[in-house]
Symmetry: C2
Subunit: 337 residues, 2 copies
DNA sequence: TTGAAAGCGCTAACAG
DNA sequence: CTGTTAGCGCTTTCAA
């Protein structure tokens, strides 16, 4: 038999589909003998309940969506791992959607969820996202949403983040202590919550050293390696050469290293670098990279856990809270010794 | 209205649900006036068809599964991008499942698909997988399966791979030409199709230099960094020290570099290294890493395209073919100049 | 402890 | 061109 149904089992056993359904779900109203019979036949026939029939009937899909800007990034890769591991444990299925940093796509993707395809959403917003109405509307329609990493601060739901402000501050202070006096903050978008918070930490750290008369220098790069190379090279050749970089995006590490190499600027001799990244290769770069290492797996797992907790209840409201998981400053050679 | 249904639209418009259904799907049997009315009201009500009702009725889910060993790896990250981009284009949804290199999980995951949750499967098998009965059974039940990268050669379906044998050969010959005479081949599993093919290319390249009396030295490492460090360090301290490494797995790059550094063995001075990887950071390692760069995005996209092509037809058989997308030898400094 | 029956929302055969 | 009707496979009252 190709795909046995409840009815097949019921007919063979001479009972009703209701009984089979209840038996399979281990209902208390079914006698142990019947349960056993049903279970055995189900296994023998290799029965799997049709998830769509069940979803249609119950109005729940046992599926969540993960909406990400991209996945070619060590942070999001690790986060997916975290999410998937708790989802698998909870018996949920994970749909993946990539926005490729486009607000338009993000909107289109979220819009689709009005269909009831998923029970809940984990999201890290795109660089272009600077409104949250698309999310708010969805939530008003009853969809649970949990943010992680790149959040919308104004949306009333759970948000799992790292201590971006503190780590921006910490990174900057570390460079200052190492002697840097012209630190440049590099990010790919001035729009993102994480960039803003890190930049704020950076600015406040500089301010705390105000007597030294330090100028804040926040540079927003772009998407392509070529463009970023040009931007950073120009910085390094300008009159006001940075002697330190706080690199807020993983993809900006290569252009920083390459620019320095091309211009024969020594790291950490002439310019010190600290990167926000989870790259496993940080350790074997030339020189090894001092990083703010984010708890990517944990953030994903935690966000998923919050979502599932809300899905387990009938009252699916999610508390408006911000969970902060601490990142770690890992000192290596790109900041001197 | 929370979630309008076809019926809601039908009642408001005073037509039947069938008409609405057809109008929304732009059926030729519906008059333009009705179509317009329906479309407008649907938009106004923010109507989204319930995908589960539709899946149940049609027996198709517009969803595929991607089964991967892991995702914290540049190859699979890029492959997901490729898959997702063509899926989005085709209006399909992508479920992600991770086996974490466990055969048991792989089996459990695939078993679930008997339920009809997905219309097709893209898979790269786990390291432990050395039988294909779980896949064959699924295929016999009518499920289209396409392999990419880590394939099961004996399964009669489409497989998208790189030229693993050739690139193993090419990498080895390159090291030989650079003067290596004791090349070690490093992989994480002797079980995988890709490892086997690359190792075969490696062995044949050595054989082609037989007059030099070269010995094949294939070393299988493990999962943990600590273990791999130990293994490689031992190799480098042994009597038969390698002067070249063909590194067949991305995760083995860090232990190779670290072991050499710890033992003060110069790359490429004393040992030359070539890695199978798509790491964006290859360029900024110390020294920059010569790589066999796999067309990960293309492989994912191509595999997805094949699957969707079969899903578009009623006769869903997939041709038993092996599509080879060429990888590229990118020469950098870890192999000397 | 079990069964009968209704219905989740949609599609498609058939009828007009 | 449009409506009627049956039913995808499951869950869940309600009744026995």
């Amino acid at each position: 038999m190709a795909n046995p149904t409840l009815k097949d089992i019921a007919t063979i056993l001479g009972v009703s589909t209701a009984t089979v359904s209840r038996a399979l779900r281990d209902s208390y109203e079914i006698g142990p003998a019947t349960k056993k019979k049903v279970a055995e036949l189900a296994k023998q026939l290799n029965y799997f309940p049709n998830p769509y029939a069940s979803s249609l009937r119950k109005g729940r899909s046992k599926t969540i969506a993960v909406v990400l800007p991209e996945v070619a990034d060590s942070f999001f890769s690790l986060a997916i791992n975290g999410i998937e591991s708790v989802a698998q444990h909870k018996g949920y299925h994970v749909l993946i959607y990539l926005t490729h940093e486009s607000f338009e796509r993000e909107e289109a993707i979220l819009n689709e969820f009005k269909s009831g395809r998923v029970d809940g959403i984990l999201i890290s917003v795109s660089e272009e996202t600077n409104t949250s109405t698309h999310l708010v509307k969805l939530m008003e329609a009853g969809m649970p949403v949990v943010f992680f990493d790149r959040i919308c601060e104004d949306v009333m739901t759970a948000k799992v983040v790292t201590d971006d402000y503190e780590s921006g501050y910490k990174a900057t202070v570390y460079l200052l202590k190492k002697g840097c006096r012209n630190i440049c903050f590099l990010s790919t978008s001035s729009n993102l919550s994480i960039s803003k918070n890190r930049a704020e930490g950076y600015a406040d750290a500089l301010a705390a050293f105000r007597k030294k008369n330090l100028i804040s220098n926040v540079v927003t790069c772009g998407e392509s390696l070529a463009y970023n190379l040009k931007t950073i090279t120009k910085l390094l050749k300008g009159k006001n050469k940075p002697d330190g970089f706080v690199v807020s995006a993983e993809k900006l590490i290569p252009p920083v290293y390459l620019s320095c190499k091309k211009l024969k600027i020594s790291i950490p001799g002439n310019v010190k670098v600290i990167g926000f990244t989870n790259l496993q290769t940080s350790l074997i770069l030339a020189p090894s990279l001092t990083t703010i290492t984010q708890p990517a797996f944990e953030m994903g797992a935690h966000a998923a856990a919050i979502l599932f907790k809300s899905l387990d209840k009938k009252r699916r409201q999610i508390m408006n809270e911000q969970i902060v998981i601490k990142s770690e400053l890992v000192i290596r050679n790109s900041t001197g010794r």
